[in-house]
Symmetry: none
Amino acid sequence: MSICLKPRWARRKDARPQELLSAALEIFVERGYAATRLEEVARKAGVSKGTLYLYFENKEELFKAVVRDTIVPNIAQAEQLISEFQGSTKELFIELITHWCEQISAPNLAGICKLMFAEASNFPELAEFYYAEVINRNELMIIQLLERGMQSGEFRQLDLSVMPKIVTAPIVMLMLWSNTFSCCEPHAIVRDDYVRSYIEVILAGLLKN
Amino acid sequence: MSICLKPRWARRKDARPQELLSAALEIFVERGYAATRLEEVARKAGVSKGTLYLYFENKEELFKAVVRDTIVPNIAQAEQLISEFQGSTKELFIELITHWCEQISAPNLAGICKLMFAEASNFPELAEFYYAEVINRNELMIIQLLERGMQSGEFRQLDLSVMPKIVTAPIVMLMLWSNTFSCCEPHAIVRDDYVRSYIEVILAGLLKN
Amino acid sequence: MSICLKPRWARRKDARPQELLSAALEIFVERGYAATRLEEVARKAGVSKGTLYLYFENKEELFKAVVRDTIVPNIAQAEQLISEFQGSTKELFIELITHWCEQISAPNLAGICKLMFAEASNFPELAEFYYAEVINRNELMIIQLLERGMQSGEFRQLDLSVMPKIVTAPIVMLMLWSNTFSCCEPHAIVRDDYVRSYIEVILAGLLKN
Amino acid sequence: MSICLKPRWARRKDARPQELLSAALEIFVERGYAATRLEEVARKAGVSKGTLYLYFENKEELFKAVVRDTIVPNIAQAEQLISEFQGSTKELFIELITHWCEQISAPNLAGICKLMFAEASNFPELAEFYYAEVINRNELMIIQLLERGMQSGEFRQLDLSVMPKIVTAPIVMLMLWSNTFSCCEPHAIVRDDYVRSYIEVILAGLLKN
DNA sequence: GATGAATGAGTATTCATTCAT
DNA sequence: GATGAATGAATACTCATTCAT
């Protein structure tokens, strides 16, 4: 039984950055980087403008922290699924997509994704980071998956230089969608229908015959 | 042999709006709305800051004009292809995608697409417009295509509430990609490979068997 | 029977400055100097912006021209009335005020007066001019009038260092009023009533007994 | 003995708006609304441009605040003098004018008066406010005074639709004068002489016989 | 640690003025 | 003479950042 020795305000202090990051994430996603006012972030987090600067050097660093902080805990999870999975590649594919789409439901990942697409050209360094840590790792995973399927004879012959992007696209679009045009649509996308149809069609496209 | 009676600056005047829109498109796409400085737009178009205001009331109107101006001429083209096409739906699909991807090669459409995803939440009115005129019309086209395929017995049974987005996603991602992370990648996407693989896999997924 | 030898456009050319001055006067009075846009002046006069500069060096010179041009023709008129008048000073006073108030009815003089009060501190040179040519000459006239009345025994003893302003004030206010708060008032001032009461009371105040 | 617990900048904060209003009043009166640069106002108040915007939403609101702030504390004062006064109406008149002219000596009221005459047509809403709160109330007071005099038999029969403006005019002109042409004059107006002569002549004009 | 008043660099926008036609 | 497209200096206003308390 562990005892927390810190007084409450000290614990609060530790928690502060996370509250700030959450508030910032939400507003960055909604407004974009440039249109985000730090005062609004501070207000949403329930602190004063100055307090932000106790934790983040400036707006850009806050932005980077938001991106890194949201991504990092989600990166490593799926990778081992692939390496450890025992069943057919078809089952693995279903497992993987399902897992991914559950993650997405938390608005964070989808929000960051949209944010990165919008701001990549303004933050090349961050774009590199995001590309390396998220996009590239994701594609490598998909490549592993596809290779596994081809070697087992389940999948047809596939061009691995482009297939990861093609296969991934519908899921990425689903993430982008919720933060952009969803409000324009008469009927919201039913996520489960979307995922089911996606799996069905893509699998049919990947499998031999 | 026609003689142009207009003085040079009058000819200039006719061309100006288009020059400004081109310059603006490029910078809006690169930087996003908020980070775009009108002075830079003006400089790129080879005019002074004030000249912009002779043609566009303000930054927001310039932005809207850029979007409308790029979209409108491209809207109506593919719709009749579908209604008039005689061959199999499979052939129609190939035709349609090929046509679309040729359009994309002009950086305009892809740029606007990226721009709209980035700024939709800041310009709801424009987002509505883009949704209605581009996204929705596109989806309706795809729905027509899929229905045609299902009725002819070529395509399997498909959930039309989600399939358009799924089928469209890889092409949209291709558009977004060129304006975001393409610079991070070791090897540029080979467009033809991408499209060929896309058609191959998606068609295999849509067709019966 | 005089024949005009000038072609019409030449006559028009001569007339142009007057049209410009009229347009400018009206807008200067309504908006004030700074808020007056030369484009609006030009439009009101039915010419292009550039044309203004053919006749007036710049905005300030236009303003000065408006003031001088409106004032000059009205200055010299009343002065000789005083020197030539034969009747009682009381009658002269009535004559003078009546004459003045008729002049005012043309909106020009009243407009300029309001304009000068508003802009005097921004155009010291013009203020000097207006003071010397209008205000001072007016006061000198009033002084003559009052002296005449005192010498003839009609008027009581009066302090000539302040009486001109006091006596003049209600008429000046009448001029200012029509260009400022008249629109706020439930009932417009009936000019004749105003003048009649003014003459009655002021005369009663000036005359002996 | 009270102790001020506020930190210095907090005390500053309380005083700021008043400092800014004073600085603004002075410059607005001198230059007019449009020609007033907010940076100059800020400099005169010893703060930076941005600070202005902590206290006033924009230039127009600052202007309105200046007007309201200067007027409001001065409105209600004289009204009760009339209702409570016991002596003759002649004495009341003298009392009232004297009181008014003392108020004027503070440059504020005179400045605002001049400002309102100059800018009324640009700020209709503010003109309404000024008309209702200052001009109209003043006239109603004068009307009360004149009625009192007529009822007591001291004053002659007077046309109350115009007399307030006529009676008031010399005092209003005195206010306007100090902010416009006073610098052009060889001899400054001696205020006491002006007021004495004014009272003498106007009273003689109002009283019977 | 936290605050929020103050700052001033940066941008959108206006408008007097110029000048090629 | 007349035009109106183009210019760019000038100014209102915003907002990231600082720092005294």
